[in-house]
Amino acid sequence: MSTIREPREFDDIPGTFVFDGQRNHQGYHLNMFCKSLDIKENREVFRQSPAAYLNRFPMTGEQREAVLQRRFNRLLELGGNIYYTWKIAAFDRVSMQAAGAAMSDEGMTEQEFRDMMLAGGRPMKGNRSKSDKNR
């Protein structure tokens, strides 16, 4: 299916993939693959032969590649929902803060992300609006 989005008001929010109906439809099988990792037996099969396991789900080639390469922002672009893609991070025993660091601007380590959170988190200024960076 097409990955060109019909624009929405909230698309102006920077660095954010709002999980609306378009993304649900685009990412349904990707997200249901992630959901399948809730089951221990499935996790074992996926660990042994990742690509073969992904073939059980009618996902796109781009979605499969992004899963195998653990490109978390790309997964969100391709219709992934964070609570579903998080299951891949949990499968890898990656912490929420490490996942946050991986999705942040290039080069942020887990420790840098943790320090940012303890210092009050990512600031609002400059992060409200793509069209008005001064807000």
Partner: protein
């Protein structure tokens, strides 16, 4: 007759549950937050609600994208903890109250809130972390629990005005129940946080303070916040706090704020708690 005695607002950060389960509540990272839980634990030990209605969201554990319900009530005898990838939390089963749950469903549906009725479900950190925050690690939870799950994962989440109105209808339903029960209602989730994307780690402490002020004194103003404003100002996951409006709606117009604090950061979240009484 049953009576709503108080509302509790609390974030439901999963790492708080992990800290309890793994005996880390006294370490340098967690101790400052857990010390702030003490007055809340002393308060609930004193008021001893018979039933807690916990308004929370499931995070792709009991429910998934195959069917998405906006408001659901669990009518089960008991609820096991979900396996969130690390095995279920080592906590007691959550005991339900099917008779009260069915009364609420019936009353709400007759009041035109078309609740989904769930007879088979687990409960994830969204519900169990608030229990751990208030009750620590008991052998059995000291209250029965009615899970009221709200979809906040899929856009569009229910509007604030609808959540506030649902709270009012819940109050009416509770007050019409034929048993003498003390009922507390929990609104959970939030405050500002964003787990996803390049903006992950966003916190808006100023916005959260205004939210807590207005929730107590001008809930209608909170209810009228638009989806885009929630998402922009509070983070893509911070919109969970819309569920606190269900709690607020179940209280009277005028409330007393018994306790309140925020703590930044608990994992990726600006943790917030408020306790409000009629």
């Amino acid at each position: 007759m049953a009576k709503i005695i108080a509302g509790v607002g609390t974030s439901h950060v999963p790492a708080i549950g992990a800290a309890v389960d793994n005996g880390k509540t006294g370490n340098d990272y967690w101790a400052p937050l857990f010390q702030k839980f003490e007055p809340a634990r002393a308060w609930i030990d004193e008021v001893k609600p018979d039933v807690c209605i916990i308004v929370y969201n499931d995070h792709a554990h009991a429910f998934d994208l195959s069917s998405i319900s906006t408001f659901s009530i669990g009518t089960c005898e008991s609820f096991k903890s979900s396996d969130e990838g690390y095995g279920p939390r080592p906590i007691p089963d959550v005991v339900g109250d099917p008779r009260l749950a069915w009364h609420l469903c019936e009353s709400l549906i007759m009041d035109e809130f078309d609740i989904t009725i769930v007879n088979d479900m687990t409960v994830d950190h969204g519900l169990t972390v608030p229990l751990s925050i208030m009750y620590d690690q008991p052998e059995a939870w000291p209250c029965k629990v009615i899970p009221l799950a709200v979809n906040v994962v899929q856009y569009p989440q229910p509007k604030g005005t609808r959540c506030l109105a649902l709270g009012k209808a819940l109050r009416k339903a509770v007050e019409a129940y034929d048993q003498d029960l003390k009922v507390a209602i929990f609104g959970t989730g939030g405050l500002s946080h964003q787990l996803q994307g390049p903006r992950a780690g966003l916190i808006n402490a100023e916005y959260d303070e205004k939210f807590l002020n207005d929730l107590a004194t001008d809930p209608q103003a909170v209810a009228e916040i638009t989806h885009t404003e929630w998402l922009r100002e509070s983070g893509s996951e911070g919109i969970e706090a819309v569920m606190w409006l269900v709690m607020r709606g179940a209280l009277g117009d005028k409330v007393d704020e018994v306790y309140r604090f925020t703590h930044c950061a608990a994992s990726n979240t600006n943790y917030g708690m408020t306790i409000l009484t009629d």
